[in-house]
C-alpha cells in the first residue's frame, strides 16, 4: 500500500497549482467572467485535456486520480471552464465512438479545438440516471431524435453534444438507451443558454425531428446504460475532487478572516466557540479528501459493485462535508459572507451545485441499500446480483 502521489502526479499537481496561483485570483476570475473569456487553450497546452487517454490516442495514460488532481485545482480556482463535462464526454467518445467519429473528434477534443458536453439530464426524472424520454426512432438511413435535455451543465461553449436518447422501452427502463453525437449547428437542434448560480452556465437542448445517420451513434444500440453508469460515477468522483479543492480554499479563507477580523477588541478567532467550529471545517476537508481519493481508486477496479459502493459512500461523505464547510464559511464571515463581493459566496454556490449534481445523498444511499440487500440474498440466488445496481 502506498497512498502518496507518484513523481508524475507531483509534477501534474505542481503545474495545476502554478496556473491556479498565477491566473485565478478571485479578482481575475471575476474579470474573465465579465469579459466572457476563459483559459481553455492553456488547459490544452498543459496537457490537462489529454490526461486520462492512452498514449496511442494522444493522451498521457492517467487515471481518475490524475484527472482528480486537475479537478482539485479547478475547485480551488473556482474555474468555470467546462473541464468536467468535457472530460466525461471525451472519455465516452474515446471508448465508444466508431472509428470515423473518433478520428474526427477525439484529437480536436484533446487539443482544445473541439469542446464536448454530455447531455443526460431531463426534467421529470430527478436523479434517476436511466430516466430518458428523449426518443431516438430508427428511420430509413439512421435515427430521428425528438425530445429535450433540459439541463446540460457546461454546455454553453460546447461544439458538440453526446446525447443519451431512448431507442427502446419505457422512460424508466435501463435497457434501450443509445448514445449519439450531435453537433451544435445540426438542423433540428435548439440550444437555449441558461445562467446558473455557480456562474458555470448550462444549456437546454430541444430536438425536433432531428435527423442523424447511423454513423452518429456511439456504442451498441440500446445497450449504453453500463457505460453511462460508469461515466456518471466518474463524474461524481471528478466532482468530489473539485469539492475538496473548493473546501480547502474556502476553509483557508475563513481561517484567515477569523484571524484578522476584530470585534469586541479581539480577533473573532479568539472566541473558543468559533475555534471549535473552525476545527470542524478543518476535519471536514480532510475527511472529504480521503473519500474522494478512495472513490477515485475504486474507478480502477473491475468489480462494478465495489466501484458503485465506494463512489456512493464517497458522494454521501463529500456532500456532508461540502454542506458544512459552505454554510459555516458563510456564517463565520457575517454579512460579508452573503455578499457577491467575496469569494466565499461563490465557493458556497459552487459547493451547493456539486451537492445537487450526480445524485443527491438519498439517491446514493438507496444505491448502497440495493447492494447491501442484494448481497443478503446472494447466497441463495447468486445469479441475481448482476441485475442489482
Amino acid at each position: 500500500m502506498d497512498l502518496s502521489f507518484s513523481e508524475e502526479q507531483n509534477m501534474l499537481q505542481e503545474s495545476v497549482s502554478r496556473l491556479v496561483r498565477d491566473h485565478y485570483s478571485f479578482q481575475r476570475r471575476q474579470q474573465r467572467l465579465e469579459d466572457g473569456e476563459d483559459l481553455w487553450l492553456r488547459f490544452a497546452e498543459l496537457g490537462w485535456l489529454a490526461v486520462p487517454f492512452g498514449e496511442d490516442q494522444g493522451g498521457i495514460g492517467g487515471g481518475a486520480v490524475d484527472v482528480g488532481i486537475v479537478m482539485e485545482g479547478i475547485g480551488r480556482a473556482l474555474a468555470v471552464e467546462p473541464y468536467l463535462p468535457h472530460m466525461l464526454a471525451s472519455q465516452l467518445l474515446a471508448r465508444l465512438a466508431p472509428e470515423p467519429l473518433r478520428d474526427r473528434y477525439l484529437s480536436p477534443a484533446l487539443s482544445g479545438d473541439c469542446r464536448l458536453a454530455l447531455a443526460f439530464i431531463e426534467a421529470g426524472g430527478r436523479y434517476c440516471p436511466w430516466f430518458c424520454a428523449t426518443a431516438a426512432s430508427e428511420s430509413s438511413d439512421g435515427y430521428q431524435i425528438n425530445g429535450a435535455k433540459d439541463l446540460v451543465p457546461g454546455g454553453q461553449s460546447a461544439d458538440a453534444y453526446l446525447v443519451i436518447a431512448r431507442s427502446h422501452g419505457d422512460t424508466r427502463d435501463r435497457q434501450g438507451l443509445s448514445l449519439f453525437l450531435v453537433e451544435r449547428e445540426h438542423p433540428g437542434l435548439q440550444v437555449r443558454r441558461l445562467r446558473t448560480n455557480d456562474a458555470a452556465g448550462a444549456v437546454q437542448l430541444t430536438f425536433e425531428n432531428l435527423q442523424l445517420d447511423a454513423g452518429a451513434r456511439l456504442g451498441d444500440a440500446d445497450q449504453v446504460w453500463p457505460e453511462l453508469e460508469h461515466t456518471l460515477d466518474l463524474g461524481a468522483v471528478y466532482q468530489a475532487w473539485e469539492a475538496v479543492g473548493a473546501m480547502a480554499a474556502l476553509s483557508e479563507v475563513t481561517l484567515d478572516y477569523l484571524k484578522t477580523r476584530k470585534q469586541f477588541g479581539r480577533p473573532l478567532g479568539a472566541n473558543q466557540a468559533l475555534q471549535h467550529r473552525m476545527v470542524d471545517l478543518f476535519i471536514a476537508v480532510e475527511e472529504a479528501r480521503s473519500s474522494a481519493l478512495c472513490a477515485a481508486l475504486a474507478m480502477d477496479t473491475d468489480d462494478a459493485d465495489e466501484r458503485r459502493r465506494n463512489v456512493s459512500l464517497s458522494k454521501i461523505a463529500v456532500d456532508r462535508c461540502a454542506r458544512l464547510v459552505g454554510q459555516e464559511a458563510v456564517q463565520l464571515h457575517g454579512a460579508m459572507g452573503v455578499t457577491d463581493e467575496l469569494s466565499v459566496g461563490h465557493y458556497f454556490k459552487r459547493l451547493t451545485a456539486i451537492i445537487a449534481s450526480f445524485g443527491d445523498s438519498e439517491w446514493h444511499a438507496r444505491r448502497i441499500h440495493r447492494l447491501d440487500t442484494a448481497s443478503l440474498s446472494s447466497s441463495s440466488q447468486p445469479a441475481r446480483s448482476q441485475s442489482w445496481n
Partner: protein, 399 residues
C-alpha cells in the same frame, strides 16, 4: 391551559381572513405564492391597504393609533396573512422606528412621524451596523458633532436593508467619546434626502440588491430629530433589538414555507417514480423539520403568553431567533434539494416576474434554490445566532 382558540379568537381570525381575501391584490398574492421578489411598490401597495384598515401598525396600542390587539390576535393575524400569501410587512417602520418613537419620542415627534408609519406612506431603514461595528455594535464610530440647533453627522453605515427605498433612517451615532462605548451613543432620525447622504448598493450572493452602504458626509440633522436624551441612544437601541428578535421567529411565514415545501414534494417526481413525497428518505428529512417547527410554534406561544402576562421576553427572545431562523433555513434547503438538478439554473427574470421566458424545470425550482442561498443571511442579521447563544449563556444560564 388551552391550545385551541376561543370563539372570539375564531371570530377574529375569520374577520382577518375575510379582509385579506377581499383586499389583497391578486398579482401580489401570486408573486408571494410563487416566492418571487417584490419591489418597493408591491410592498407599499399592500401596506397602504392595511394602513387604511388601521392594521399596518398591527402591534401598536390604541393610544398611538394601533388596533390594540392582544398578543394572540397579533399572532393570528401574522399566521393568517402568511397563509394567504400576503407580503411580509416591512418591519423598519411599524416594528422598529414606530415603537421607539412612541415610547421615547416627544409629542411633536409622535405627531410628525407616527402617521406616515401607520399609513405606510414613508419607508424607513435601520442605520446601526458599520464596517467595524457588526456584532460589536457599541463600537460604532459615525460621529455627530453638536452644532447648537443641529448635528453634523459623518461616517459610514453598512448592510442597511432597503436604504435605496427609504425616505428616513433611524440611526445610531456617537455624540461623545467615553470610557464605556455604550454611553456616548445617540438615536437620530435622518431624512434620506438630506445633502451628504449617499447610498451605494451591495449585491448579495444570490444576485439580489437589498442591502446597501450609506455614506454620511456632514449631514445636517436638526436637534428636533434626536430621540430621547443625547448619549442615551443605546437604551433605545437595545429596546428595539429585543423586539426584533421576537419578530425574527417569523412563525407565520415559516409555516407557510413548510406548507409550500410539502406542495413541492408532492409535485416533484421521486427518483424511482411516484412523487418525492413518497420517497421515505426525503420524507424523513421533511418530518424532522416539521417536528422542530411544531415545537418552535408552541415555544413561541409560551413566550407570548408570558409577555401577555406582562413579563418582558428577555433572553428567551434569543431562543426564538435561533431556532426560528435555523428552521426557516432548513426548509428552504429541503425545497432546494427537492428540485434536484433544477437548483442549478439562475433565472432572474422569473425571480422578478419580469420578461416572458418560461423557466427551465418546474416553476418552483427557480425560486427554491435562490431562496435557499438567500436564507443563509437569516442566522446573521438581527444579532447573529452566535451572539444570541452568547446572550442565553450569559443572561439565562449565568455562565
Amino acid at each position: 391551559m388551552e391550545l385551541s382558540l376561543s370563539p372570539q379568537q375564531r371570530e377574529f381570525a375569520e374577520q382577518v381572513r375575510e379582509f385579506v381575501g377581499a383586499r389583497l391584490p391578486r398579482d401580489i398574492a401570486d408573486k408571494v405564492r410563487r416566492d418571487q421578489h417584490l419591489d418597493r411598490e408591491d410592498h407599499m401597495r399592500w401596506q397602504r391597504i392595511l394602513g387604511e384598515q388601521g392594521w399596518h401598525a398591527f402591534t401598536w396600542p390604541e393610544q398611538h393609533g394601533g388596533p390594540g390587539w392582544s398578543i394572540v390576535q397579533r399572532y393570528l393575524f401574522e399566521v393568517i396573512c402568511a397563509e394567504m400569501n400576503c407580503p411580509i410587512i416591512q418591519p423598519f417602520g411599524p416594528r422598529m422606528a414606530g415603537p421607539v418613537i412612541y415610547t421615547f419620542g416627544t409629542d411633536q415627534q409622535k405627531q410628525r412621524f407616527l402617521p406616515g408609519i401607520r399609513d405606510s406612506t414613508v419607508w424607513w431603514c435601520q442605520g446601526y451596523s458599520e464596517p467595524q461595528a457588526g456584532s460589536d455594535l457599541a463600537s460604532l464610530a459615525t460621529w455627530a458633532e453638536d452644532k447648537g440647533d443641529h448635528y453634523l453627522v459623518s461616517g459610514q453605515k453598512i448592510w442597511t436593508s432597503y436604504a435605496h427605498y427609504a425616505d428616513w433612517m433611524f440611526c445610531l451615532v456617537r455624540t461623545s467619546k467615553t470610557e464605556r462605548p455604550q454611553t456616548g451613543i445617540s438615536f437620530l432620525l435622518i431624512d434620506m434626502r438630506s445633502p451628504g447622504v449617499e447610498v451605494q448598493p451591495i449585491l448579495m450572493l444570490e444576485g439580489t440588491h437589498s442591502f446597501n452602504t450609506v455614506f454620511l458626509e456632514n449631514v445636517k440633522v436638526p436637534k428636533e430629530n434626536l430621540i430621547g436624551e443625547q448619549d442615551n441612544g443605546w437604551t433605545y437601541a437595545k429596546f428595539l433589538l429585543e423586539h426584533e428578535r421576537v419578530d425574527n421567529a417569523a412563525i407565520g411565514v415559516t409555516k407557510a414555507a413548510m406548507r409550500r415545501l410539502k406542495e413541492i414534494a408532492a409535485s416533484e417526481h421521486g427518483d424511482d417514480g411516484g412523487t418525492l413525497m413518497e420517497d421515505p428518505l426525503f420524507h424523513r428529512k421533511l418530518v424532522e423539520v416539521e417536528s422542530q417547527l411544531q415545537s418552535l410554534e408552541v415555544t413561541a406561544l409560551r413566550i407570548l403568553s408570558q409577555v401577555a402576562a406582562g413579563e418582558a421576553p428577555g433572553p428567551a427572545a434569543s431562543l426564538l431567533k435561533i431556532r426560528g431562523t435555523e428552521i426557516a433555513q432548513r426548509i428552504s434547503e429541503l425545497a432546494s434539494q427537492a428540485v434536484g438538478y433544477f437548483a442549478l439554473p439562475y433565472q432572474p427574470d422569473y425571480l422578478h416576474d419580469a420578461g416572458s421566458e418560461t423557466p427551465v424545470g418546474p416553476d418552483h425550482a427557480a425560486t427554491a434554490a435562490n431562496n435557499y442561498l438567500w436564507r443563509r443571511c437569516m442566522s446573521i442579521y438581527g444579532g447573529s445566532n452566535e451572539i444570541q447563544r452568547g446572550i442565553i449563556a450569559k443572561r439565562m444560564l449565568e455562565m
